[in-house]
Symmetry: C2
Subunit: 457 residues, 2 copies
């Protein structure tokens, strides 16, 4: 695009920032602070590059907690502490390996896999077994007598038709979470799950699976999309394809982890607490930049920016970097349970756990009356790209607050198109995050926290 | 983000596609066609990888025209032809080189530059001159007596505060377009312009500049952001910094180029023409993926998808891949002028020239009555991520249609946050385009064309 055509558009953009209410001016101030002096991007760089992947129980988890403590202090929290909780400790145990061999050519075709989180390994010698192509659970039921002794290859496709890719994830996720145990029920000895992604590359996407204790625990891994297509093609040609898997994952005893909490005391109602958070843990093969480094640095940035512009919150604002969202949710549960023990009053929770992409909206778990009030605020967000306030939403980690206290919740909804390209894959790195997109997320979160703090719900 | 929290959100997304009007069903059909059978991404791959950068007059321009002809035929155009027009022929002439040397250390500090399009070169021996840091035009006026014999370094910053980055471009672009001649007016012998970008890398961003014939033509180049900061720092420490520039650009005689046009005859009003387009030319150092390969494949995809779902347009639909938008606009002008000569009736023009990112809206250059009508359609676009119909907008190439015929215009407005990271830089490659984001642009464009064709304006 050449330069000429924009000058005519200038008046247009200018109008969007012309609303002169105090609130819009305050939000503009927050936006300027974040766009010009923002620390979210540099915070994310240090988390991803100096700590890296940080699954619960790993040495990196400990480093990440220290990182969080420092970052919250630097951002200006009055008080920073670690809230201890026991976390599961799954380890990958080594390099995952796999190949398949079709009888018609006997060639070992290497395939790129990642063992699923929480899964058991095959043992050092690996597992070799015939593989059966299963496209969905109804097919599994129909072919249950053919499964015994085989590796079930769930080839359920990530639905391209959904516009919001989280819907595709909601649709396909059960194959990763429960598929291995359903296969084991019929005697399968292993499971391969097509990665939950629209990506055009071959990088496999791991994530948590959960065994059903009624059935044997079998090894389970995600397979990259290109290799899934290759394996499918081989099976369609040759039923007698054999897969070799070698995964070394195992569960260690639970260990100590922490929610890292930074608090900024309220000036009027210090006992009323607003929680803003993301989760500090991430899958091991990547840097956990979008999932959920972004949510952590978003949340820290909200506190920093409000403080930097001289805002005095009425209520206490807490930034929580939650432990163990990915494979246990122990941090989120602990936070709510301790709040109940201490009789804390939680008036609002906001979570960012859908990536550091340009924000499109917020989802709210609130009453109808609260939603009506919130909807009046929407025009204040339009200049910053947010046009959707939808019902339902929040986040896994703040969910328990709503269960225990009916705390109103909100979740940031960034653009979802690229999220599952990198989600739980090696490609979820700092380089996949755009500085300004990340900043816009923090701006909109800060605006929402400002409005909730000022007006209540 | 773990899987659990999405199942609760499912009902929410489903509601957005529940509107049962014929139009929403038709748009859903278009969306499915594009998401499942889309060709835009693969078309973009062949354009960027088999043709590459394709500035007007280059051998790649000719290859790109042939690519366009094939792609339009494959998409199902009834008739495809080349509309000849003379285009300027600027060549880079070789590798741009530059360094600076401060008196205090004498070290040659290499800097990454790209000569600006249309600029003259330094000659093979290069140009060495003292450099003067000029932050903006008022500073140039104040220091005009110090400029003679020097290289002016325009260090005007891309404004971070604008939310829509096109506004930053509108603000800064004049330093690239007119800066060199303003510097020459006061005796400068060369110009370096800070790249128009928020990027975090050092890749320089070229683009067109235009000489004012009243002043000497001096060499001019864009400098990468990190190097611009280095040079600024050096100059703030040491006024006697010297820059060496070697650029080999020159204007060759005008040559023959073509708009590539694919037509699909209307079933009711074949004489009424709807134009959809992007520009086929691109800057030479990159692949022109977002600028404007995306607009070309968007436009082709609109025709392909409408045809694939069995739609019969009332009006004639023309896809135009315009020649020479970047440094001359000869294609856009030719198209409108020939339309006038032939007495064609142009009822609507739609352009995509702001990248292949997730669409956010459309800008319209229409009458107030037309705008009122268009605004009623907005809810049909919401499920596909478009929430903004703004006044003003269209595109450089279809602009002449409005000038000559008052043709109503629209321009696709994708998310702008990443556009200037790669705009006119080596980083504008196929890999910078996300398949689904690209597809969503085509979906919304196809929906708009369908509505305009069906209901008129």
């Amino acid at each position: 695009m050449s330069h000429k055509m924009f000058t005519g558009l200038l008046f247009l953009f200018a109008t969007s920032v012309r609303a002169q209410s105090d609130d819009s001016l305050m939000i503009r101030k927050l936006a300027d602070e974040i766009l010009v002096n923002g620390k979210a991007y540099e915070n994310l760089r240090t988390l991803t590059k100096q700590v890296g992947g940080r699954i619960a129980g790993s040495p990196q988890m400990v480093k990440a907690e220290k990182w969080g403590e420092r970052a919250l202090k630097t951002a200006g929290a009055d008080n920073v502490w670690m809230q201890e909780c026991m976390v599961p400790h799954w380890i990958r145990g080594g390099q995952d390996e796999a190949y398949f061999t079709a009888t018609h050519n006997r060639k070992h075709q290497k395939i790129d896999i990642l063992a699923l989180g929480n899964s058991v390994g095959t043992g050092a010698n690996g597992l070799k077994a015939p593989v059966i192509l299963i496209n969905n659970f109804s097919e599994l039921e129909m072919r249950k007598n053919e499964v015994k002794g085989k590796i079930v290859f769930y080839n359920y496709k990530f639905n391209e038709r959904f516009i919001n890719t989280f819907q595709s994830y909601g649709d396909a996720g059960v194959y990763r979470g429960s598929g291995p145990s359903w296969a084991a029920k019929y005697g399968a000895v292993g499971a391969l799950v097509r990665s939950m992604s629209h990506a055009t590359d071959n990088s496999p996407h791991t994530g948590a699976m959960n065994y059903n204790d009624s059935f044997p625990k079998i090894p389970a891994a995600a397979i990259g999309l290109i290799d899934a297509d290759l394996l499918e093609a081989s099976l369609l040609k040759d039923d007698n394809t054999v897969v070799f898997l070698r995964t070394l994952g195992r569960m260690m005893p639970d260990t100590i982890g922490h929610n890292v909490i930074g608090e900024w005391k309220g000036s009027e109602f210090p006992d009323r607490i607003i929680t803003i958070g993301g989760h500090l843990d991430s899958w091991d093969p990547a840097e956990g930049a979008h999932d959920d480094g972004a949510g952590c640095v978003h949340s820290i940035e909200v506190l920093r920016a409000l403080k930097a512009i001289g805002y005095k919150p009425k209520n206490t604002i807490r930034v929580v970097l939650f432990a163990n969202e990915e494979n246990g949710l122990r941090g989120g549960n602990k936070y709510a349970l301790e709040a109940r023990e201490k009789g804390e009053q939680h008036i609002f929770g906001l979570e960012s756990d859908a990536g550091g992409f340009t924000p499109r909206g917020f989802g709210f778990t609130v009453t109808a009356a609260q939603m009506a009030k919130i909807k009046n605020w929407l025009p204040l967000f339009n200049p910053y790209g947010v046009f959707e306030f939808t019902e339902g939403g929040g986040g896994a980690d703040i969910g328990p607050l709503n269960k225990l206290f009916k705390t109103p919740l909100a979740g940031l909804q960034p653009d979802s198109q690229r999220y599952f390209d990198i989600h739980h894959a090696r490609t979820d790195t700092f380089e996949a995050v755009n500085k300004r997109e990340l900043q816009l997320g923090a701006i909109n979160m800060a605006a929402l926290i400002y409005l909730v703090d000022k007006y209540g719900l």
